[in-house]
Amino acid sequence: MTPAAWSAVEAFIVLNALLVLVAYVTLLERKFAARMQSRIGPYYVGRPHGWLQPIADALKLMMKEDIVPTASDRWVYNLAPIVFLLPCLLIFATIPFAPNLGVADLNIGVLFFLAVSSLEIVGLFMGGWGSNNKYALLSAMRAVNQIISYDLPFIFAALVPVLLAGSMQMSAIVAAQQGLWFVAYPVIGQLAFVAFLIATLAAENRVPFDILEAESELVAGFRVEYSGMKFALIQLGEYAHMLGTSFLAALLFLGGWLGPGPAALGPAWLLLKAILVFLVVTWVRWSFVRIRVDQILAISWKLLLPATLVLLLATGFVVAVRGAGGG
């Protein structure tokens, strides 16, 4: 098979596996959240633990009526879910699941990931604008503010492992963690991991930074006018992005596919670590109230950005010293 055909097949497999994974990750989140709230979560659909719930939800959304507001900006409104979804799926192209298993293990992998993932803001704003709804507009304006502010600390925190490994290629970063996972790197590793998690929460619009959807004020924010399949695409995009950054965290900080046992278990370890990061983010999400948008921006510009900048400089210094010392 030609390499191009082989890549196409790989991409197809990854995309489908991703869709199933995203669906079941929503179920995992709902059960996890339910148990934290002294209740059970999905139970009856696919007894006894709601295994068929994601399928039922997907079928329901496909069968729903597609309502388009009369006064909406047609092209912008209809294209927004797709423009939102594409970057969220595209980031998985650069994620390697094992040393040679991945759609495209680019040597600028991390850069590609970070650049493409911040394109979702375009789709988000298109959705908010095209809906011709004041709540959606308010939410879209907040979103632009918030995601742009948090992209910088996100990038800086993600660059710390890049510096420590000396390469932007994801498999090289994992290979550099053979001895010590970057999260265990004294001080710098932990701080970078925490900063990365906080920036992830904000870039994903997760509580405590979910002011842009703020169900109790804006009733679903930029998504408020979407129904049926378009809503499903937006949900899919959000969770895929969430999962993508979890995978990135697992690769950059938690050693990727490294773990005890045969090398064939690598992808399983990666999946496990990504789910672990996802659960930690979910745990934070279900424990806190949200904060206001100006406070969110204050945290980003006054706290997180200077902190990650200093961290990056310190990492550079450490790497230079270690490099000079023959490390």
């Binding site: 934290m36 002011i211 703020a214 169900e215 109790s216 424990s287 806190f288 109230v289």
Partner: protein, 387 residues
Amino acid sequence: MPETEITQVVELGYGGNERLMMNMGPQHPSSHGVFRMILTLEGETVVAVDAVIGYLHRCHEKLGETLTYVQYPSIASKTDYVAAMTSELAYVYAVEKIAKIEVPRRAQYLRVVAAELQRIASHCLWLGTWCLDMGGALGGGATVFLYCIREREMVLDRFEELTGARLLYGFHQVGGTRYDVPPGWDTKVRETIDFIEARLDEYEAMLEGNTFFTVRTRGVGVISRELAQEVGVSGPLLRGSGVGYDVRRAEPYSSYGDFDFVVPVETAGDCYARYRVRMVEFRQSIRIIRQALDGLPEGPISSRPGVKSVGQVRVPKGEGYARVEGARGEVGCYIVSDGGPKAYRMKWRGASFSNLAVLPHIIPGHKVADVVAIMGSVDPVFGEVDR
């Protein structure tokens, strides 16, 4: 019918000067009921608030004229349906005041136990819905909400054992109460309040000192002492602004003078102060219930025979105003009687109605997100507002 002049037309749209008029409600997850606020926004800052009420008007005051003194206590619970016991108490207390009916001591103590248990249940709902509004239905707010509802269900189970109903009780009647305690009830109540006291520590651990929570609530929605007294707010809003006024202390009713409790007062006047007031009220209510159960006297539960006919209670001509300290503030009932079995005129002083009047004064200047925090800390129930 004469033409009434429309004095103010509120147009929704772009109000010039880069101002946006946004409608919040009547169907809105955070309006705590059916309540419409027309917010004028400049960017994210609220510049003016126009509050529209009346969506839940059910003609209570007319019902008070068509239903007799025997029938109405069951309906009175529907004004403040979250704290039903205190609403019923206001009505029967007003009737007893006019007719100078003596209430036996056991009934008074039972009324106190019911009212304080109701205050605990109502504050559980307040905390849950407030955090739900601030934290999102899919987020940490829902977690606190479900914890609070879990505890509230225990209190409602106690009420179910006492009266048979979980939300709208019909517990009070003119002259006393309708139900006596079933066997084993007070042990269960003691267990319940011990359990809730332990869980309160958990809520405080989740919220207190939590920067996410304090930045949302400190300095937000400050009601100054002068404004509070001028507008006529009551309850935790008043006590959070530095005025130590509690009807249970100012004009003790139903043997509240027998109990030893602290009336919490905070001076900051912001949402956090009102939160602290209500959290202290939780513990004080638990304290009162323990004292009431310890000292529960024997005796009849009503000084009038049980209801046998619809016109049984006749009240001599007169008028009277009774006020009680509900969970939201001072709930008052004013009755004018003409000697028959029905009231001639009945008026409710809803605590939330007066409390809501403070909103156009304190909201402008805050951001949209603060509006829900302030609404939650004001804790309105629209049954009381619209009656």
